[in-house]
């Protein structure tokens, strides 16, 4: 709509530094993943250290929350991929009675004409 392939915008210095930091993180994904893995490892260790007061019996199981988070996330993804096999149609399936395949106009985006 506005200025897609235009030259990169140069934000102010603080934002520029922040963007450069993000650039570095994006360029080094393994470091981010390693960081996440370390935090997860620490959290798994912590699981054994504090006294649990389960409000629901399953909470008492060791490593319940880490395992639950990991497994359920994967289940959600595989469930959704299976669902997509059934529900996916062309983008213009409901056209012209829906906005799905329409290109947003200036009214929708609110860009000044």
């Amino acid at each position: 709509m506005s200025d897609h392939p235009a030259s990169p915008i140069t934000p102010d210095r603080a934002t520029g530094r922040f963007v450069r930091m993000l650039d570095w993180l994006v360029a080094n994904p393994m470091r981010v993943i390693a960081g996440l893995a370390i935090v997860c490892g620490l959290l798994a260790v912590v699981d054994l250290l504090y006294e649990k007061h389960p409000s629901v019996p399953v909470e008492a199981l060791p490593f319940f929350y880490p395992v639950f988070g990991f497994v359920i996330y994967a289940l959600v993804i595989f469930g959704a991929k299976t669902l997509r096999l059934i529900i996916r149609r062309r983008e213009d399936y409901y056209a012209p009675y829906s906005i799905d395949a329409e290109t947003p106009n200036s009214h929708m985006t609110g860009e000044q004409r």
Binding site: M1, S2, V56, P66, I77, P96, S98, I99, P104, H107
Partner: protein, 566 residues
């Protein structure tokens, strides 16, 4: 005197007044002032019933302020303010008026003390809000708006039917806690359920919100569904079926959101899932659960607003919110990205963000009341929320595959609104006491315990680890330009085909029937003309001799019959 001015009146007067001001920053400033006045008025009104009058023998209360209506009234006014700041640059008078009247209707509905005035405001929210969809001004948005309007107005008509039956049975139209035990209350419950996007009644939400304008969706996301949550909390607290309806609501949208390409539609599914948590809270109905519902509605309006705002800003700058077209926008829109991530962290209930201090009230209430399966379902849903709102929205917009789009950061007003809303999300998460203080019941709850923080972080970060793992293995579903079917396929495709088929069938049978009858009639006429016409066997003239012979034969037959009869 000031105490008796209902906040909705400010919006009702403010909308036409705004049109008298030249369309520009001055008008925008005036419009932003309206909810500020609304908040000031609200803070000044003492708890109790005000503006009570009698209409056709029924007591009508336009302003009932108590601890429940106050929370919703306050957040509606705050949401209206933030949405108006976000839409400061909009010069479309239709959207300006619609936003004010819609917000005013929702504020009005929250303070109704009776079902008649609730009905009026209920319909008003439907009629005033549809213009935010039509403001897109495309053929698709026109049809979407019509579908939205039919369903919303339909909900109002069902509400009115329920109210009339209820009034004839009980003689009262007071809007208090009801029992789901008859046709009247059943219809009222259904009307609330439509607006609250109960399972199978939900599609209007995902259909219409992505069709509104970049700023319109922010406004839409705040009011209609939360008004329904308020109505359910007021009318049906502790209704057990709501626990199960809510639990289903938290789960099914997750799967649709995970494969949806239009990120504003993903947020609409996510909104549906969050409503589920609130509905479960209403169903459980204990003070802790109802506090949870009110707190979660409060926080949800804010983090959902900041998420819709960030997507609105992206739509404003790039012209799309399709995940398949976006990526790498953190370079161009870093502030929008940070606000979006704050919204994502809040909805995912990371510690120190607002969702953490509100959702846990509902989660704890289900455990306390022994609803362990529902507790597990809500936990499942929490992981799902992290997937579609916590990870997918920010990742595919601002990181992921670089789309090559380079644009400006969002306009100052959008940034201001996003930063303000994000600040509220963090503020509530870090210091929840002021929110807890305005909840309907006294709060004796400590969200920041070691166990709660650790378990929540364990669940969320290991889910994040699963995302990384699936992404690296190429198992994460790629984004495609596609339309995904949902239950609305039944009334958008199947029913029209069935009805058209039925019509065609009736048409065919009818034309066969008419054709057959016509053929029979013309065959009879042909036969009659053949037999009785000028040359027919009966009609033609015969010679006298032949005639005499025929008469003789007839006489003979008569005689034979006569003799045989004897």
């Amino acid at each position: 005197m000031l105490a008796t001015i209902p906040p909705f009146l400010v919006y009702l007067i403010g909308a036409p007044l705004a049109l008298l001001i030249p369309n520009g920053s001055l008008r925008s400033a005036f419009m932003c002032l309206v909810p500020v006045v609304g908040i000031l008025l609200l803070l000044d009104i003492p708890y109790g019933d005000h503006l009570t009058t009698s209409i056709v023998g029924q007591s009508v209360t336009l302003l009932r302020v108590d601890s429940l209506s106050f929370v919703f009234g306050l957040i509606f006014n705050i949401a209206a303010f933030l949405a108006l700041v976000f839409a400061w640059h909009v010069r479309d008078a239709m959207q300006q008026v619609s936003t004010l009247l819609y917000a005013g209707s929702a504020v009005g509905a929250v303070f109704c003390g009776d079902l008649i005035s609730l009905f009026v405001f209920w319909e008003a929210t439907a009629i005033t809000s549809v213009f935010l969809i039509w403001a897109t001004r495309t053929e698709g948005s026109y049809h979407t708006g019509m579908r939205y309007l039919i369903i919303q107005v339909g909900s109002g008509v069902i509400l009115l039917s329920g109210v009339l039956i209820q009034a004839s049975q009980t003689g009262s139209v007071a809007f208090d806690a009801m029992k789901l035990d008859g046709l009247g209350t059943g219809l009222i419950f259904l009307a609330f359920g439509i607006k609250c996007a109960f399972p199978l009644l939900h599609n209007w939400l995902q259909d219409s919100y992505p069709a509104a304008t970049a700023t319109g969706t922010v406004t839409l996301s705040a009011f209609t569904t939360k008004l329904a949550v308020y109505a359910l909390a007021r009318g049906f607290p502790g209704t057990e079926v709501l626990i199960y309806i809510g639990a289903v609501m938290t789960v099914f949208p997750i799967f649709f959101a995970a494969v949806e390409n239009n990120l504003r539609k993903v947020l609409a599914y996510s909104l549906n899932n969050q409503l589920g948590f609130m509905v479960v809270g209403i169903g459980v109905g204990t003070p802790l659960a109802l506090n949870g519902t009110a707190a979660h509605a409060f926080c949800h309006i804010l983090y959902k607003a900041v998420l819709f705002m960030s997507m609105g800003a992206v739509l404003h700058r790039t012209g799309t919110t399709k995940a398949s077209e976006l990526g790498g926008l953190y370079r161009s829109m870093p502030i929008t990205m940070v606000c979006c991530v704050i919204g994502a962290a809040s909805i995912s209930a990371f510690p120190l963000f607002s969702g953490f201090v509100s959702k846990s009230l509902i989660q704890s209430a289900t455990a306390d009341t022994g609803h362990w399966i529902v507790w597990l379902v809500l936990l499942f849903a929490s992981v799902g929320v992290l997937e579609h709102s916590g990870i997918k929205i920010p990742y595919f917009t601002f990181f992921g595959h670089d789309s090559g789009i380079r644009c400006k950061e969002a306009p100052w007003n959008m940034v201001t609104a996003m930063v303000l809303t994000a600040a509220l999300c963090v503020g509530i998460g870090v210091y929840p006491a002021p929110l807890y203080a305005i909840l309907p019941f006294p709060v004796d709850y400590q969200p920041y315990t070691v166990a709660h923080v650790v378990t929540q972080l364990q669940m969320l970060l290991f889910a994040l680890l699963a995302f990384v793992f699936l992404m690296r293995k190429g198992l994460y579903p790629a984004e495609f330009r596609a339309t995904n079917l949902d239950f609305d396929w039944i009334y958008r495709r199947a029913l029209p085909v069935i009805i058209r088929g039925l019509g065609l069938g009736i048409d065919t049978v009818w034309s066969r029937l008419i054709g057959g009858s016509r053929a029979m009639v013309s065959a009879s006429i042909d036969a009659a003309s053949r037999n009785f016409g000028p040359y027919g066997i009966v009609g033609r003239t015969v010679r006298v001799g032949n005639g005499v012979a025929w008469v003789a034969v007839l006489l003979l037959v008569t005689l034979l019959v006569g003799y045989s009869a004897d």
